[in-house]
Amino acid sequence: MIATLANPYRFMAVSRWLAPLCGLAAVVLIAWGLTLGLAVPPDYQQGETVKIMFVHVPAAWTAMFAYTGLGAASFSSLVFRHAVADAAARAAAPLGALFTLAALITGSLWGKPMWGAWWVWGDSRLVSVLVLFLLFVGYMTLRASIEDEAKGARAADILALVGLINLPVIKFSVDWWNTLHQGESIFRTGGPLIAPVYLNPLLLMGAGYSFAFLALWLTRTRAEIRLRRASVLAMRGVA
């Protein structure tokens, strides 16, 4: 898989049809999930606000998924020096930032009614997600502020790998450290805790978000690669 995609030409060939396919899947799944999600009965303690969950939780999941992708791409570009991997890493960052921001915003929108506060500095999950967002931003700034492309790329890869530590922190923060935030209720040993009525739309939305991310990621990566080809040709033209 990686080996296949590492070759730019094969990557372009595959992604040409893979990207739109993911886009289509995303549209279908999200539409389905929304129709189910908007129909759910109000929660006995959360009331209507429970519906925020269907936008919030998937956003959070996808944000972490995006950083995982960034980390993987950075690793293979740093170690195996795959051109595609570097382009993919660069393409993943802004998308990840976007989804993280979505998780933050929907989360604090939810937090006002549930906890009576938009933001709680003491809460490990909230903070670790904020860190995730800042890591994406930092990565983009680093990529933007570099004069020497090769060097800058490697430095950014290192940063991305360093930031990987944050993922388990986000995931397990709720268990390690007493927080206001919801504990694990879905991906936990012993099966989900929440009723199927809520679970199904949530999972549908999760899948939809993920496919949406994949579609955008592939597209941006393609654009990035095209850009580099252009610049290479330009250099040849000069020489």
Partner: protein, 217 residues
């Protein structure tokens, strides 16, 4: 061999005057908070002491970061260090420890004194010292990683802010909780702070070395 390097780093940093300057200034500034005299209750003042300590630690670390690798890169010293027998990872770790000894440790010693001067209970003073020492190590190593990564850009400073700060947020918060003396979560916060410090000490050197090699090339 690394001991040599350590001695050299310390003497240079000391000559630049992080340490002594810092600790003394910190004590004076903290003591100057007394005239604020927020009523007889010791609570506020010692709380202020806690906050002051923590912020001082963060700033001291951040402000000494650009000296960590930048100079050595510019004056060719990093070349020499890279050409020695010890691995660059060890070199970077030593540099971080040295900068911690000069910038972080004096503060960690001065902090409890200031806190007590401001009416904190001796028990809390110990807690403050522990937190400051542990946090200092974490800051030094995480900051070092950021500094090394930022070497490739001429706008190093701004970049460092963006890179280092997110990584510093967790320890700052653990420390804040830990320093809230008597708070229930203190012991837990200490555990987290220690874990974070250990993790950074274990992982940062590799990031630093990789970033330095990249900057040298």
């Amino acid at each position: 061999m690394l001991a040599l390097l350590m001695r050299r780093e310390i003497s240079i940093a000391w000559g630049r005057g992080g340490g002594p300057l810092l600790a003394v200034a910190f004590l004076i500034a903290a003591a100057s908070l007394v005239p604020l005299s927020l009523g007889p209750a010791p609570g506020p003042l010692s709380a202020a002491a806690i906050g002051v300590t923590w912020v001082a630690l963060v700033l001291a670390t951040l402000l000494s970061l650009d000296r960590l690798f930048q100079h050595d890169l510019e004056d060719g010293c990093l070349d020499l260090l890279a050409l020695g027998a010890p691995p660059l990872e060890a070199v970077c770790a030593v540099k971080c420890v040295a900068s911690w000894l000069v910038n972080g440790a004096p503060l960690a010693v001065a902090a409890p004194a200031a806190a007590i001067a401001l009416g904190a209970a001796p028990s809390s003073a110990i807690q403050i010292a522990v937190a400051a020492l542990t946090g200092g190590i974490a800051f030094a190593f995480v900051g070092g990683a950021g500094a090394a990564i930022a070497l490739v850009s001429r706008r190093g400073g701004v970049l460092m802010a963006v890179i280092v700060l997110p990584l510093l947020i967790p320890p700052v918060i653990f420390g804040g909780a830990l320093m809230a003396t008597g708070s229930a979560g203190a012991s837990q916060a200490l555990a987290l702070l220690l874990a974070y410090a250990l993790a950074s000490v274990a992982l940062a050197p590799f990031a630093m070395a990789a970033a330095c090699r990249n900057a040298l090339g």
